[in-house]
């Protein structure tokens, strides 16, 4: 009933408004030029809403009510983690350090390879017949999850941290070179042009004109990837790639929740420390 009433009111209002616009239109006799893009924005919004609606069922979003009705189960499970047991903290710390070391090497190798690959996949640096193949290769590196690569490398180099390093290296190369190339595509081309007119070679143009412009962003992105690789390296432990992850999942599987809880706390502290450290590093170099 109220809805109908509202509709009535609204209808009335729009009638009134269109009357008003008509009178002003006749007065000035000049319609405003249509702003381009206003209908396009509406279409984009519509498309996003349609995509969300289409994904609702398959993603089982309808189960959201369980979050409230069955929250007790979660609480019960989580209560196992409430009393962390740090009795073996030395061992956990050692394993945590191994995880950080895995992430460090994986990220380092990725950064080294992402520099040329990122430049080669930037459209303002390389012709399409170079940047398209490089980009597709990077897509492949990025699309396949670290865990899948880790399984692959475990087969090749055996169980242990090195498989983790390789998995992180490949996946991070895919991500970082895309991010690096986006930074390169956003540079100011004018200093590079100026360097070109001095007779500098292509490589020199990149070294003196491009790299100084993107370096702060590149460093920032690399540090961020290092942080997220520490998290990823933890997960890689599950499939036997060493580090604290391996110990963590073993204890969860064995219902040693207090121990698992202690390890999680160590992981959280490490990631936070990394965040603080990388912030300081960023300030130092930028």
């Amino acid at each position: 009933m109220t809805i109908q009433l509202h509709a009535c009111l609204f209808k009335h209002e729009t009638n009134f408004m269109s009357d008003a616009t008509m009178t002003t239109n006749t007065a000035t006799a000049k319609p405003l030029p249509k702003q381009p893009g206003s209908s396009r924005n509406g279409l984009i919004l519509l498309a996003v809403v349609a995509a969300l609606a289409y994904s609702w069922g398959p993603a089982e979003m309808g189960r959201w009510t369980y979050l409230f009705t069955d929250a007790g189960n979660m609480a019960e499970y989580a209560s196992g983690f409430l009393k962390p047991n740090f009795s073996e903290w030395r061992f956990y710390l050692e394993e945590m350090i191994v995880t950080v070391q895995i992430a460090f090497w994986g990220t380092f190798l990725a950064v080294v390879f992402s520099i040329p690959l990122g430049i080669l996949s930037a459209h303002n640096m390389a012709p399409w017949w170079v940047n398209q193949p490089v980009r597709r290769l990077m897509d492949m590196f990025r699309a396949i999850h670290e865990v899948v690569f880790a399984v692959l490398f475990v087969v090749a180099v055996g169980l242990g941290p090195f498989a983790g390093v390789m998995a992180l290296f490949i996946h991070t190369t895919g991500t970082l070179s895309k991010l690096f190339s986006e930074a390169v595509e956003a540079i100011d081309p004018r200093p590079v042009e100026a360097i070109r007119t001095t007779g500098a070679s292509r490589v020199q143009q990149v070294l003196f004109g491009v790299i100084p412009q993107v370096l702060p962003l590149w460093i920032s992105l690399s540090l961020y990837r290092l942080e997220s690789n520490i998290r990823s390296a933890t997960v890689l432990g599950v499939i036997g790639a060493g580090g604290i992850g391996q110990v963590l999942f073993e204890s969860i599987r064995g219902f040693y929740y207090p121990q698992a809880s202690a390890m999680l706390i160590i992981v959280i502290i490490t990631v936070s420390l990394m965040d603080l450290l990388s912030q300081q590093l960023r300030k130092l170099v930028i």
């Binding site: 200093p191 100026a194 001095t198 007779g199 020199q204 412009q213 370096l215 702060p216």
Partner: protein, 284 residues
């Protein structure tokens, strides 16, 4: 052998004709001004001569110092860059590098490739860079990041970079339009001395005809992508400009201050001058 020969150059951006059959010749040792309202094609012409842009196919050719630069929309693949040095409106220094490194970049075309790529410059090259900074009047800033300089200083650092390059031709694309009047004059003085003392051919595009009259014996005027005047700068009276450009000529000429208003300003300046010593005394 002429320094620059442009013959029948045309360039179209979409539907917009930016250059329309431009032909001109600049002899060695000349100092030529290129004037025109915004959008008249000055920058486009300069970018073509610098080899940063190619003309339309069948769009004419450019020769620089007797070598082909571009022909029919194709850059000469064996073009040896570095014989023309370019100064830009926005200076185009690498802002995160030091002034010294920016100036040393001018050497890149001539130092051995490996040394330039690794950024290893010898004593001689560094001395040259210092001398260039000295000459443009900013020897003290060599260690600063170039982004910390003022606009006028940045443009002078950019000139130092071209000095180090030791090119035979210098072309400048509106080098002073982003600068205040005193910096603009200083930059034009440096360009003029490069022309008269080093015998380097200078082509400079300018927005205001006063500078052309003062510094350049010859002026080429452009309108809508075509050359409409090429001759002595002294012949470019304000009336003639009005004839050439119509209403657009206003943007090319600085308004002359009316005599009636100049006097009070001068009187105020004199009064301020008298005021200053007293103020300083009070402070002391």
């Amino acid at each position: 052998m002429s320094a620059i020969t442009v013959s029948n150059l045309s360039k179209t951006f979409g539907k917009n004709r930016a250059l329309d059959k431009v032909s001109l010749t600049v002899e060695r040792g000349e100092m030529v001004a290129l004037i025109g309202a915004s959008g008249s094609g000055k920058s486009t012409l300069i970018r073509h001569i610098a080899g940063l842009e190619t003309a339309d196919s069948k769009g004419g050719r450019i020769d620089v110092l007797g070598d082909l630069c571009q022909d029919g929309g194709r850059l000469n693949p064996r073009l040896k860059r570095g014989r023309i040095s370019v100064i830009f409106q926005q200076f185009n220094l690498v802002s995160r590098l030091s002034v010294m490194t920016n100036v040393l970049i001018g050497h890149l075309g001539r130092t051995p490739r490996w040394r330039g790529t690794l950024g290893v410059f010898n004593r001689d090259e560094k001395l040259k860079a210092h001398a260039a900074l000295d000459r443009v009047g900013i020897p003290q800033v060599f260690a600063q990041r170039s982004s910390t300089l003022s606009g006028g200083q940045q443009q002078r650092a950019a000139i130092a970079r071209t000095l180090v390059q030791e090119a035979e031709i210098l072309i400048a694309d509106e080098p002073i339009s982003a600068l205040d009047p005193s910096s603009a004059r200083r930059v034009m003085d440096v360009l003029s001395s490069i022309n008269s003392e080093d015998g380097i051919t200078v082509v400079v595009s300018l927005h205001q005809v006063e500078y052309a009259r003062r510094y350049c014996p010859r002026t080429i005027a452009m309108r809508d992508g075509a050359v409409v005047y090429d001759g002595p700068s002294t012949a470019l009276s304000n009336e003639f400009l009005a004839e050439l450009y119509g209403a657009a000529s206003e943007e090319l000429v600085l308004p002359d201050a009316p005599a009636g208003q100049a006097a009070p300003v001068a009187a105020m300046a004199a009064a301020a001058e008298r005021e200053r010593p007293r103020a300083e005394l009070e402070l002391a």
